[in-house]
Amino acid sequence: MKELLEYMVKELVDNPDNVEIEEEEEDEKTIIFKLKVAEDDLGKVIGKKGRTANALRIIMRAASAKRGKSSIVKIID
């Protein structure tokens, strides 16, 4: 699942080398993804009114549902 988020975010940003994702298990079923991107790319992963961040979260929710889990995507600034 981490690969999926990494893949999509790296396609979206200008500095793919600065993309960092930390995976943390909150409990058995919940995984938290802490997403770090270059400062200039923050707007790109968030989007207007959070539209892009929302889309990323929905896709991640779909992927985790398939694996019987739930996921939280946190964008660290």
């Binding site: 999926l4 999509m8 979206l12 989007g47 889309a55 990323l56 929905i58 779909a62 992927a63 398939k66």
Partner: protein
């Protein structure tokens, strides 16, 4: 008069050579146009193929390595996806598919792969849905005319409402309007005659 003849010949050959040059020029122009078109099309195809690869990779990752086949339609700016267990990639009411479509369009635009919006269709969900809602709307329009009362349809997204507005604009006896706010915005069909 051999000399005269030769002059006439010379003129003839000169004129014909001019004509030929003109033809050549035209040919050349045609060729240029053709290659330009081809290149444009090639760019478009490669751009769409690039997007298709992203779609394929993303859906395979969402659906745990499910086998996915993608087809691109250059004329229709469409990418259609086939595979077995792709329900989760479509999502309830096509929600996940719509978000994925938004993301790949965003990526495509940023990378200059596409110059217009790409429609994503997984397992012909969109195609079947259009058929289904058009059919229901037509049936409801008939009902509205027959019973002489307005009929409200289920809430739908803007894209689906547009399809129905377009489809029902062909009927002269009904008028369509949308009511309420997103995400519960819905179409109301008004019959124009015989309102009781």
């Amino acid at each position: 008069m051999p000399e005269n003849e030769s002059i006439a010949d010379a003129v003839d050959s000169y004129v014909s050579s001019l004509e030929k040059e003109e033809e050549d020029g035209e040919l050349l122009e045609n060729n240029v146009k053709k290659t330009e078109n081809k290149e444009y099309k090639y760019e478009k195809i490669s751009g769409l193929t690039g997007i298709a690869k992203i779609v394929k990779d993303a859906i395979e990752m969402i659906c745990l390595g499910e086998k996915v086949k993608v087809n691109t339609d250059v004329e229709g700016n469409r990418i259609s996806v086939q595979g077995d267990d792709l329900g989760i990639a479509i999502g309830r009411n096509g929600k996940n598919m719509a978000e994925l479509e938004y993301l790949v369009n965003l990526i495509g635009r940023r990378k200059n792969l596409i110059d217009r919006k790409i429609t994503l269709d997984i397992k012909d969900y969109r195609k079947n849905r259009i058929e289904k809602i058009t059919k229901t709307a037509t049936r409801m329009a008939r009902k509205a005319i027959r019973e002489g009362r307005k009929i409200a349809l289920k809430p739908m997204c803007s894209y689906e409402r547009k399809i129905i507005h377009d489809a029902l604009s062909k009927f002269k006896d009904v008028r369509t309007k949308s009511r309420d706010e997103e995400p519960y915005r819905r179409i109301i069909i008004y019959p124009l005659k015989g309102i009781k």
